[in-house]
């Protein structure tokens, strides 16, 4: 049985549907990331679970108990906020012990537990420091320890790393996962960073327009996106629009052999999805091979072990990741042939609705 259930949750703000009937079931001890661009409803969902807001319809059930109308201070949900939320008038130790003090725990028990948690987050030495004496990363560690101190039913993390610099972010996300696994605590994590979500979660739910577009394991989300939006949002993807014809999909005047299109009626408009790392790029020499689009390299972006090439031609717009060594032989301006894999490409049927644009996530407010 699911431990945390969000049942058909709706939340409207005036005419805006922030949540439009989301359904989530999460087992005990599992880690789910809600991933999506800003305004997709992920933080609204988290705030409903925390009790800071009430849904217009639907229910939140934890361990079989309906929590929808329970006030936030009676829910036992530990939350780490995006903004630095430590109480400035208390030391790290007092911050962590605050929830225990509210629960009337004796001083001795409290001190033991607080010391244990500060050790767990690697800040055993910093208990006497005030928040303004701690770095951003340290403050979020204390906030994590504070949320864990009350032994919450569910741990809620609302973009806790977005105000931190890149290196600390990676370090801390790994620690969050280690601690979550160590304590076996059911966790709901909100982020707009797909790399973060894919790297630490058991399950990822991609949200868009107040709905869950797809939910699955990180590997499933990457390799088998169910909607054009998910395909676009998770990783980088070539999206080639075309029409189903005999033997494949017609795109840019040539017929691409795509295994996944078999069995679809001719004339269907489809989107062929190809990951850049599966595209094979070579200089054009002589006759055109099968499944090959021809164009010029217009940009090269160095990404370390691979270099990303943007290839533009007549009706052709493809990006390909090639080994950096190989990219040296394909400078900007080179005419190249990009061969798309027949087996690895995925196909989605196109509806008449325009493809969603992914909004740029605003820079987090660093406070």
């Amino acid at each position: 049985m699911a431990y945390l259930e969000l049942q058909n949750l709706h939340r409207d703000f005036g005419t805006v549907k922030a949540l439009d009937g989301i359904e989530i079931e999460l087992g005990e001890g599992e880690f789910l990331s809600l991933l999506g661009p800003s305004g997709c409803g992920k933080t609204t969902a988290l705030r409903l679970v925390a009790g800071f807001d009430r849904p217009n319809a639907g229910a939140i059930v934890v361990d079989g108990k309906d929590m929808t109308r329970v006030p936030p201070n009676k829910r036992d949900m530990g939350m780490v906020f995006q903004a630095y939320s430590l109480f400035p008038n208390m030391t790290a130790r007092d911050n962590v012990g605050f929830g225990l003090r509210i629960r009337g725990k004796k001083r001795g028990d409290r001190h033991g537990r607080v010391a244990e948690l500060l050790e767990l987050v690697g800040l055993g030495h910093a208990g006497d420091r005030y928040p303004h004496q701690l770095s951003g990363g340290m403050q979020q560690r204390v906030a994590l320890a504070r949320a864990l101190a009350i032994e919450p039913r569910v741990l809620l993390l609302d973009e806790p790393l977005s105000a931190l610099d890149a290196k600390v972010r990676v370090q801390l996300r790994e620690e969050i996962r280690r601690i979550q696994l160590e304590l076996g605590i059911t966790t709901l994590y909100v982020t707009h960073d797909q790399e973060e979500a894919l790297s630490i979660s058991d399950h990822v739910a991609v949200m868009y327009g107040g709905r869950i577009e797809q939910m699955g394991s990180p590997a499933e989300m990457y390799s088998a996106p169910a909607t054009p939006f998910v395909a676009e949002f998770i990783g980088t993807m070539n999206r080639l629009e075309g029409t189903v014809v005999e033997g494949g999909v017609e795109h840019a005047g040539i017929t691409l052999e795509v295994a996944a299109v078999r069995g679809r009626p001719r004339g269907t408009r489809v989107l062929v999805l190809v990951r850049p790392e599966t595209v094979i790029v070579d200089r054009v020499d002589g006759g055109a091979a099968a499944n090959t689009l021809v164009g010029d390299v217009v940009t090269q972006t160095f990404l370390g072990p691979v270099t990303r090439l943007k290839i533009l031609g007549e009706g052709v717009d493809v990006i390909a990741d090639v080994p950096t060594q190989k990219a040296l032989a394909l400078p900007v301006g080179t005419k190249v042939a990009a061969m798309l894999p027949a087996e690895d490409a995925r196909v989605l049927e196109l509806s008449d609705e325009p493809l969603p644009e992914i909004a740029e996530e605003p820079a987090p407010a660093g406070r």
């Binding site: 936030p72 201070n73 949900m77 530990g78 903004a83 939320s85 008038n89 605050f98 509210i102 504070r146």
Partner: protein, 265 residues
């Protein structure tokens, strides 16, 4: 590294200091003159004041009134401004506008209005300084308290702190007392200082509503005895500063917002 102060800055500082200290010094010298000869120096004027029973009665009344006004203001405005910041931010400009009214309405108009308004009030309220006068002083102190507290609330993330506290199990009262208040302590103190200064010096309302407060006493001394008047003026100055200092000492605590605002040292 210690910054060097420019000579022009020193000159301006000295001019400003002179502006404030010369009248004080003149008053001090005047208060030390002998009543009979007009020559320096004697503490007789101070002796006259200290031995005057009315001095002690009025200073006690004004001090109690000041503390009462501060207590009412804090009890009334801290939760109100907290809720406005948290739940009704659109009301903030309305409150800010209302807070300007005591500045704009002349005290004479206010006291006439208040006397008429409270005419039907019970005698224990209307006839007592801790009833009528304290109410009037709360209105007078409203702008000072509001703008101080408002600045305090704006310097903290009220939403996140409140939600963090509730999330850990605290109710509204606990959140206000344990989390919000300690973090706006500096602002509450600033508002309290200003309120104290207003009550210790307010003349018009007390005079027109016929309550014998400390400023009324100063005025009566001033009318009859020139040298003791200077002495009592200086004493009131000293007493107000001492009261502020004691408020500061009572309100100060390690790790307050004030310390945070001035940065880690």
């Amino acid at each position: 590294m210690r910054k060097r102060i420019a000579p022009s800055a020193v000159v301006w500082l000295l001019v400003a200091a002179a502006y404030f200290f010369i009248p004080l010094l003149a008053t001090l010298l005047f208060s030390l003159k002998k009543v009979q000869t007009g020559n320096c120096c004697t503490l007789a004027s101070y002796g006259t004041i200290v031995h005057d029973h009315q001095f002690w009665v009025t200073i006690k009344l004004s001090s109690i009134l000041a503390l009462e006004t501060i207590a009412i203001c804090l009890a009334l405005f801290v939760p109100t401004i907290y809720l406005v910041h948290l739940k009704m931010p659109k009301l903030r400009p309305v409150l800010a506008f209302l807070a300007l009214i005591p500045f704009v309405v002349p005290p004479i108009v206010m006291v006439v209005g208040l006397l008429n308004f409270y005419k039907g009030a019970p005698i224990w309220f209307y006839d007592q300084p801790w009833g009528f006068l304290a109410t009037a002083y709360v209105i007078l102190a409203f702008p000072y308290m509001f703008f101080s507290l408002d600045a305090g609330f704006r310097s903290i993330d009220v939403h996140t702190l409140t939600e963090a506290s509730q999330n850990l199990g605290a109710n509204w009262a606990t959140t206000l007392v344990k989390v919000i208040l300690p973090n706006i302590r500096a602002a509450a103190l600033a508002g309290s200082f200003l309120t104290l200064a207003i009550v210790m010096g307010e003349f018009t309302i007390a005079s027109l509503s016929a309550f014998h407060t400390f400023p009324i006493y100063i005025q009566s001394v001033n009318e009859s005895q020139a040298y003791p008047a200077a002495a009592v003026t200086l004493m009131s100055f000293g007493i107000t500063w001492a009261a502020m200092l004691s408020l500061l000492l009572v309100g100060r605590k390690r790790g307050t917002r004030a310390a945070i605002l001035t940065g880690a040292r």
